[in-house]
């Protein structure tokens, strides 16, 4: 007879010394765990509730400007600093960690319309309504960290005066050219006081300009004649143009998928395009109730942040039709510029009320050093919440956001109007000969034509 009985020796299953870690044994057999789905559901519900309890996205406001903030710039080689320019010509460099001004750059006589930093992070380029482009030396990192936080001011490296007022400026991601937008698109070199090249297609002012992160010679601009134009610096003529029904206030390229860009449009939506196929939008992002003023992508390329005239900042997923998060404060007025910080953890908004506000990108994230066990727990809770987030109880909690009353009412009004329009369209279609009334898809509807 062969017989064996389970016998466990205590030494094998307990720790030897009290300084050792406790031993953990796993058996993943599903029959040992009863009612796993219900337990996961309860955990998802609790995770959703905890998320809401810990959701405190607002970190602080950076006060100092005396007029509304029109533009911001990120320094590609220094995470902690951000530049902002306001309507009275005041440019400041902020230290995000202490939320104080490190350095001021006085010089512009009127509104600063655009700010950008060179590739190596040493030169700041600013342009304004006083028809000048100014280049500044960015103070080194040590200076930014120093305790001497009195208003240091820097002198301009160079001032270039040109013909018309400028509306926007952007620097190449990998080169030393920068482009300004105004009555025409000018390409400048740091050392020349006159533009190296000029592009002029169309008769209206260009209001925003962005270089492609992957291909340094391609840039996209948007103009007041509701068009979005793509230029290639190596060719002497502009490449493609798409005309929409309403003008685009701002453009941002996806840093991880450089062929896609998203425009912030005046008709409260954002449209994502593939630069190779401009006849149809890839995705329409709807949620704002007033014109979207600025847009910036996260360095992960998976999300972007938009700021709108309706006093809110929203964060969208790169392929999502609706926003995942909305940030608003009673004191925050019209948002004119937003930036996603380069470590993908913060969102900075510059508004009409002369403040720059710092927000967390993930509202319930724990900042600072997170232990590996805590990190795993957060990831697990996130995953289990996403698994059950379509069920009614969990969905209700996950979706809940407090909206300020004017936005709530405006959103309802828009919804009613769009519903009414859609219903009328459906009835027209139902009562006319089949095939005579053609519904355009939403992705094509807002485009008038594409021009080569």
């Amino acid at each position: 007879m062969k017989v064996k009985v389970i016998s466990r020796s205590t030494d094998e299953f307990t720790r030897e010394r009290s300084q050792d870690l406790q031993r953990v044994f796993r058996n993943f057999d599903p029959s040992l765990r009863t009612q796993e789905k219900a337990v996961e559901y309860v955990r998802a519900l609790n995770a959703a509730k905890l998320d809401k309890i810990f959701a405190r996205p607002f970190i602080g406001a950076m006060d100092g400007h005396r007029d509304s903030i029109k533009c911001m710039a990120k320094n590609p080689s220094y995470l902690k600093g951000i530049f902002s320019g306001s309507d009275d010509g005041d440019i400041r460099l902020w230290d995000i960690a202490s939320r104080r001004t490190v350095c001021q750059f006085p010089g512009h006589q009127s509104a600063v319309q655009g700010l950008t930093v060179s590739t190596d992070g040493s030169i700041l380029v600013s342009c304004g309504s006083d028809c000048t482009v100014r280049l500044w030396n960015v103070p080194g990192a040590t200076r930014a960290d120093s305790d001497n936080l009195s208003d240091n001011s820097a002198k301009a490296l160079a001032v270039y005066v040109w013909k018309n007022a400028f509306r926007a400026v952007d620097h190449q991601w990998d080169g030393d050219l920068f482009a300004t937008a105004g009555a025409q698109v000018d390409i400048w070199n740091h050392n020349r006081s006159q533009p190296v090249n000029t592009f002029d297609w169309g008769t209206d002012t260009t209001i925003s300009i962005r270089f492609n992160p992957g291909e340094p010679n391609i840039l996209a601009t948007s103009a007041n004649d509701r068009s979005i134009t793509l230029y290639d610096l190596r060719m002497s003529s502009p490449a493609r143009k798409v005309i929409m029904r309403t003008k685009a206030n701002s453009i941002a390229w996806n840093p991880m998928e450089p062929m896609n860009f998203t425009v912030a449009n005046e008709d409260c939506n954002c449209y994502s395009y593939d630069a190779r196929k401009l006849d149809e939008a890839k995705c329409v992002h709807k949620d704002h109730v007033s014109a979207v003023m600025d847009i910036d992508f996260s360095p992960t390329g998976r999300e972007f942040v938009t700021g709108s005239y309706d006093r809110t900042v929203r964060i969208f997923q790169y392929n999502g039709g609706h926003s995942r998060e909305i940030y608003h404060t009673k004191r925050m007025q019209r948002v004119f510029c937003v930036k996603y910080s380069s470590d993908a953890s913060y969102v900075i908004s510059g508004t009409d009320d002369t403040n720059l506000r710092l927000w967390k990108a993930k509202a319930s994230e724990q900042l600072g050093v997170v232990l590996p066990r805590e990190k795993k727990k957060h990831e697990y809770l996130e995953a289990v919440k996403n698994r059950y987030k379509h069920l009614p109880e969990v969905k209700r909690i996950v979706r809940h956001r407090h909206l300020p009353k004017p936005i709530y009412k405006a959103a309802n009004l828009r919804r009613t109007m769009i519903e009414a329009e859609r219903r009328k369209e459906q009835r027209r279609k139902a009562h006319s000969a089949p095939g005579s009334v053609v519904t355009e898809s939403i992705r094509k509807r807002r485009i008038i034509k594409e021009v080569e």
């Binding site: 007879m1 017989v3 609790n46």
Partner: protein, 522 residues
């Protein structure tokens, strides 16, 4: 070599299937491309994790299960405990013993979920807590009352004893914590671990569910079948099954006053029942000397065995212990086809009556509570050799116990999650087709509308316009107005019915008369 690999692959496939927990979703019918892509990625991840879990099961588990193999013409059920004792190591020998306590009545037992502690209760009022690792008596008290049942709550700190008039909850030090008066004179207690519910059935056949965390009485139902001694919780889905003296087994959940299932199992009273840990098998025994094994998915008998069984219990590995008189029989399913056959047997001293058999979790040990105390025998192959520290840890320290308590309280399931098929949580309910209300329902609705109309107050007019005849007319008008939509519906239905009849008639007419049939305008 190739054949062996194939066999190995077959086994791996079986284990992978176990870890996949069901069929993959059918993504063919999805129109939404984005969703389809996301789901396809998820399905791939599930496949990978199931394969990884299967590999872990094959290579990384620390212990192996027990077994008993007979050689030559030996039969396993003739092997006695003494012969096993000679072959087995000293540590396991300690698990084989008899405790004789003749004066204090038949004993029942309960183990904590990790198998570390045992609570034994003698009918004459003796309550004892034993640490099974060190085989030391932790605490014993004498409550000087009849104790009919004892059950551990979520860990070894609390246990409930069903005493003469009410059930009481005690601490591990023997301090009485609560007296649960609402339950009445309880004959059996059961504890639902995931929900922290204490279920009890009392002398009058009332089933009570009490939440032991907040003390709230969650359910209180009259079973309508009188007193019973057969009560078990199905660990798979948390339903409580009662075996009644009419031979029916009813299954209950705390949120409904009517039983979920009522099945006729035996021609006579049901003496005991037991559930297999996978939730699909149930064993019941009746007084007509039959033990039946049921498949709970189809509610059909799989196997009928002959023999009495005053008490039944399934082990973690699926062995069934049946105790009757002074004889305990263990049956096992070895061919994998759910065909139970004799595995082992054990007779205790003549004159001792077996009261309860209970397998000890994570050990190859069977505890027997009988009229003269309790015994413990070795049954190789009955316990799960590999435990999961996060589920039940036999080597728990007090810190680990405290953490586990907090985590299990956070994961406490609400009583609504108890259902016959626990995998339904999180699935989409199939759309119900809108059924037309039946004639009786419609009549009931009409009557309800008429009653509502009658109840409404009619304004009394002034200035001489308030004549009784006018008031009566007004009331009649209101009732007619309430009835009108229903009558209109009836008239419409009669018309459609007549039209249908007509068309039917027309199609049935002989050929020569077809030209007189009215042509419907196309």
């Amino acid at each position: 070599m190739g054949a062996k690999e194939e066999n190995g692959d077959g086994e791996m496939d079986q284990t992978v299937k176990k870890y996949l927990r069901g069929e993959a979703a059918n993504l063919e019918g999805l129109q939404d491309k984005k969703l389809k892509g996301q789901l396809a990625i998820r399905e791939e991840l599930y496949g990978k994790s199931a394969k990884a879990a299967a590999k872990i099961e094959k290579w990384l588990l620390p212990s192996e299960g027990g077994y008993l193999e007979a050689e030559g013409i030996e039969k396993t059920w003739r092997i006695k405990q003494e012969s096993i004792a000679r072959e087995v190591d000293i540590l396991s020998l300690r698990n084989q013993y008899d405790i004789v306590l003749p004066e204090l009545g038949p004993y029942t037992l309960d183990f904590t979920p990790n198998g570390r502690y045992m609570a034994a209760a003698g009918c004459k009022g003796h309550l004892a807590i034993v640490d099974m690792k060190t085989l030391s008596l932790k605490k014993e008290i004498q409550v000087r009352e009849t104790v009919r049942d004892v059950v551990y709550l979520h860990n070894e700190l609390f246990f409930a004893a069903a005493q003469k008039k009410y059930p009481y909850i005690y601490n591990r030090d023997g301090t009485e914590l609560h007296c649960l008066k609402e339950h009445g004179a309880v004959s059996r207690l059961q504890f639902l671990k995931n929900h922290f519910l204490l279920a009890s059935i009392n002398k009058f056949g009332q089933l009570h569910y009490q939440d032991v965390t907040m003390g709230e009485m969650v359910g209180n139902f009259r079973t309508g079948s009188g007193r019973t001694d057969a009560m078990q919780v199905n660990p798979f889905n948390g339903v409580v099954a009662l075996g009644h003296s009419s031979g029916t087994v009813t299954m209950w959940k705390p949120t409904s006053a009517a039983p979920l299932v009522k099945m006729l199992c035996h021609p006579g009273p049901v003496s005991s029942l037991a559930f297999h840990p996978n939730g699909h098998l149930m064993a019941t025994s009746g007084k007509e000397k039959k033990i039946k094994i049921w498949d709970l998915r189809k509610f059909e008998v799989i196997q009928t065995l002959s023999g009495h069984a005053k008490t039944l219990n399934f082990s973690q590995k699926g062995l069934l212990a049946a105790g009757t008189g002074s004889f305990v029989q263990i049956l096992g399913d070895f061919s994998g086809s759910q065909n139970y056959s004799r595995y082992m047997s054990h007779s205790i001293a003549k004159g001792y009556q077996v009261g309860k058999v209970l397998f000890r979790p994570y050990e190859d040990v069977l505890g027997i509570g009988h009229s003269m105390g309790w015994s413990s025998i070795l049954i190789p192959g009955s316990g799960e050799p590999n435990f999961d520290s996060w589920v039940a840890n036999p080597f728990e320290t007090s810190k680990q116990r405290r953490e586990k308590e907090v985590h299990s309280l956070l994961d406490k399931l609400p009583p609504e999650t108890i259902m016959l098929d626990p995998t339904k949580v999180g699935t989409v309910r199939p759309a119900r087709k809108k059924e037309k209300p039946t004639k009786e329902e419609r009549e009931a609705e009409m009557e309800a509308a008429v009653e509502a109309a009658k109840d409404s107050d009619i304004k009394r007019k002034t200035k001489g316009r308030n004549k009784p005849s006018k008031r009566a007319k007004k009331r009649k008008e209101i009732i007619d107005r309430a009835k009108r939509p229903f009558l209109e519906q009836q008239v419409e239905e009669q018309e459609t019915f007549r039209k249908k009849q007509k068309t039917n008639m027309e199609t049935e007419m002989p050929k020569s008369l077809q030209r007189f049939v009215r042509q419907k305008a196309t």
